[in-house]
Amino acid sequence: MSTETIEKTEVKEEVSQPAEAMLSKRRRKILSDPLNEDNPITVQVLGICSALAITIKMEPTIVMSIAVVFVIVFSNLIISLIRNLVPGRVRIIVQLAVIATLVTLVSEILKAYYFDMYKVLGAFVGLIITNCIVMGRLEAFAMANKPYDSILDGLGSGFGYAWIILVVAFFRELFGSGSILNFKLAEIGLDFQTNGLMVDSIGAFMVLGILIWIQRTKTGYVEH
């Protein structure tokens, strides 16, 4: 009897021991890696389609970023929670169903509360479903990791995506429309000829290319 109880407490201790700090070194790495060294857009080259489509102005880009972060974090969390229940043979469909549900929710909420934004982004919000970053993270991370880590991973990837498209949008709006966050620079005397190329998707490719160039020069990342 007594030995059994001792064994039990020992086991309990073993289980509770690996409770690492909320932001341990490993977890900080999960969070920060996608921001720079393993950025979903510039390094993994995922989610390019939406990075081109919605970065003409900053305002819709911000809303899109929030929507994508929301969808990545929660789909990561949900998939991570049910990862041991999901049958391997239908896992992709399950992931897709979860993502599609979250995206539809975002779209419905936007329509109910931010109708003006819904009209601008309408078609693109639905396209979050096809954003490879979301599904990529589910398949590569959430299926094999605990919920809390998955949330961190989602936040990292989401913000890694967000800051890149915000930078792209900043330059595109600046040179394409001559404004920042819909504030016309001409009003404070900065009147310059805007570049129509920047309003086109080509502008996004160029800004993105320059960003990738700068980043890879700094991190020394080479594609194999």
Binding site: I56, V94, T104, K111, Y113, F115, G176, D200
Partner: protein, 252 residues
């Protein structure tokens, strides 16, 4: 790990029920809010076409202003006022789906007309809703014509999926203000409509032309076709009001 087919089927069914249930609840729960947003959006566009509403922040104030200043009627292709539909039920202009009607033959449609009244109750402007095809999907407009039934007071465009930054610009103030003051009839009283020309920064535009949008020629074509078609459809009503106005003027 390999799981049995039964497990997979049960798992899929349960997942579908849960996710589907969540979506249904969200959809039903948010419907009233969404409907209100759509109604507000419609009334905002009608008012926005005739008057400056940028200072009104409160949605309820906007709706009150609408109730106070806007009177709506429905007309048919001949310009006669219609009050009931084929089944004898009363028609409400705001409830008419211009989008659905667009698919019918012009002769079979009913057309809402919104009369914007001045403070003293006299008619100040007429607002005509329109529908058409842009480059990717539908486009729509509320065109406000002054009480002379010739000069454009203002126009409010909307669209579903025109290219952001290109065709999408039809919803901006910059583009819409170009229509203000233009005329839809020529000197001999024939309908001329208003044409958006190709390219930006054109000079020497006539009273029936507006400057175009660089990179959005296809959207401009859709806009032109829409204005052409719908002004044509509203023409009988416009002519009727004009001749009635003349009669009133003569008898007075």
């Amino acid at each position: 790990m390999q799981r049995s087919n039964t497990y997979i089927i049960i798992f899929s069914v349960v997942l579908t029920i849960i996710l589907g249930g969540m979506l249904s609840i969200a959809s039903v729960g948010l419907k009233p809010l969404q409907d209100k947003q759509v109604e507000l959006d419609t009334k905002k566009k009608i008012l926005g076409a005739v008057t400056d509403i940028s200072t009104i922040e409160d949605p309820n104030e906007l709706l009150a202003l609408y109730d106070q200043r806007v009177e709506s009627i429905v007309v048919d292709f001949e310009g006669n006022i219609v009050e009931t539909n084929a089944k004898g039920e009363p028609i409400v202009a705001e409830k008419i789906s211009v989008q659905k009607n667009y698919r019918m033959k012009p002769e079979d449609r009913v057309y809402p007309v919104y009369k914007f009244k001045a403070e003293d109750g006299s008619i100040d402007a007429y607002v005509f809703p329109m529908w058409g095809n842009g480059l990717w999907d539908w486009i729509s407009a509320y065109m406000a014509i002054d009480k002379d039934l010739n000069t454009v007071r203002g126009i409010a465009f909307d669209h579903k999926a025109e290219t952001p930054g290109l065709g999408e610009r039809i919803t901006t103030e910059v583009i819409q203000s170009r229509y203000v003051g233009k005329e839809i009839f020529n000197d001999s009283g024939e309908l001329e409509s208003i044409t958006m020309v190709k390219g930006e920064n054109n000079t020497g535009l006539s009273i029936h032309e507006v400057d175009g949008m660089a990179g959005a020629t296809m959207t401009a074509k859709g806009v032109n076709a829409m204005l052409d078609q719908y002004l044509g459809c509203y023409q009988p009503y416009i002519k009727k009001v004009k001749s009635e106005g003349n009669k009133v003027a003569l008898t007075q």
